[in-house]
Amino acid sequence: MNAAAPQLELRRVVKRFGGVAAVDGVTFQVEKGEILGVIGPNGAGKTTLLNCINGVHRLDGGDIRWEGVSITGMAPHRIAKLGIGRTFQIVRPFGSMTVRENAAVGALFGSAAARRGPKEAFEIAEQVLELVGLNDKAAYPVSALTIPDRKRLEVARAVATRPQLLLLDEVMAGLNNVEIDEALEMVRAVHATGVTVLVIEHVMRVIIGLCRRAIVLHFGQVLAEGEPEVVLRDERVIQAYLGERYAKRLRASDGPQDAR
């Protein structure tokens, strides 16, 4: 533990599949307490990067450090215990269990989980469901949840592991603008409890609404990094990722909020 070190640091991280480098020498830092956006084309390596951070993939090169200490090669459950939680793009709740039970499962894993029994796990589940706005539906079977609520539950399960850093993988895909705004409130509420957030999204409304800093990945490398307002007007980013329609809408509107 090094007080001066960033909370998370990636140094020239490489992950190959066959001959293809899905992540090809990525270096960046996540500061404690920030909300960092990661955007980029389909296949740019965003999800692979999350899988490297939380230990699903073994690195082919480089190093990942948590509070100054290397976690490269560590198993996913140990990384979760250190305080890195994540959501998955395709949500897979336990279908036969209630919303409350699903959240409680999260509380039985992750940081400090060894000290928790079921009773405490259910207490944590209550708090977390309140935080994400699902407390009214705690007794529902998962099958009764709408898509936006399923996304909330996915976040709740990750937050119940009590992470210090939360990795969100496209939790807002498939939501309309108003549903997205509600989900942004949820992420802000989680962030306000002191959780650092790294968010992957294709919806710029999310990146602009949450992040002070964004990283653009392209072919496994960092193409651009900076404030969203600047990054999203970067000609290379428009070329590689946003496209002309988005750029036009951005220029036509007073601000990016109009452009989604």
Binding site: G40, P41, N42, G43, Q89, T146, I147, P148, E170, A173, G174, L175, N176, N177, V178, E179, I180, D181, H202, V203, M204, R205, A240, Y241, L242, G243, E244, R245, Y246, R249, Q257, D258, A259, R260
Partner: protein, 240 residues
């Protein structure tokens, strides 16, 4: 679109749902030959259920559906495909371990003519990115390419009406651009299209008309421009 023509798909008083109860309540909906219509609304409003009924996957409990002047209420899915209704489902639903070409050919499963191979070439013309990938397993393609295969598979049945559920789901903005360009090209070639889309602005940009579903009912319908400028819609769906 000339108003006096009989619509290609005409839905009247449609009520439908699942065991838990109805999802759609008395929906009226028309789309004309060659029209591009957007169907928007919150999650759970009934948009996918509507497409499910129109493609024969979900039973109508009351109401009537006609397609090209013929009653097709609760017709079987394969009968509807044969009549010219293709459905590109949410989440693409490709056969991931089959090749791209096999996936496309499955879209022509009911056809007995000899033109099927030519139509694969037609799909590749529309989506040049698929050209070198016909023998690849569909599951190894990027999300955007998978969506291209799903649309291509729908076209292989030579539909008069193509219904696309959540075109932009999980896709990068420039990929959505390219797909929208192709959607417009398909439409120009004479296929009517229903676009269900969460990115409402994208859908309204290219649609002729739009319907807004709310809790299983049509809350509003009109030209795309009217819907885009409607204050209630701007507040409720566009978040403006």
């Amino acid at each position: 679109m000339i108003a006096t023509l009989e619509p290609l798909l005409k839905v009247r008083g449609l009520t439908a749902g699942f065991n838990a109860g109805p999802v759609l309540f008395g929906v009226d909906f028309d789309i004309g030959t060659g029209e591009l219509v957007a169907l928007v609304g919150a999650n759970g409003a009934g948009k996918s259920t509507f497409l499910g009924v129109a493609s024969g996957l979900v039973r109508a409990t009351s109401g009537a559906i006609t397609f090209a002047g013929e009653d097709v209420t609760n017709a079987r899915p394969e009968a509807l495909v044969q009549k010219g209704v293709s459905h590109v489902p949410q989440g693409r639903r490709l056969f991931g371990t089959m090749s791209v070409e096999r996936n496309l050919l499955l879209g022509a499963y009911l056809r007995r003519d000899q033109d099927v191979r030519n139509d694969v070439a037609r799909v590749v013309d529309l989506f040049p990115a698929l050209k070198d990938k016909l023998s690849r397993e569909a599951g190894t393609l990027s999300g955007g390419e998978q969506q291209m295969v799903a649309i291509g598979r729908g076209l292989m049945a030579r539909p008069k009406l193509l219904m696309v559920d959540e075109l932009s789901l999980g896709l990068a903005p420039n990929v959505v651009d390219r797909l929208i360009d192709v959607i417009q090209e398909i439409n120009r070639q004479g296929t009517a299209l229903i676009l269900v889309e969460q990115d409402v602005l994208v859908a309204l940009d290219v649609a002729d008309r739009a319907y807004v579903l709310e809790n299983g009912r049509v809350a509003l319908s009109g030209t795309a421009a009217e819907i885009r400028d409607d204050r209630g819609v701007r507040r409720a769906y566009l978040g403006l």
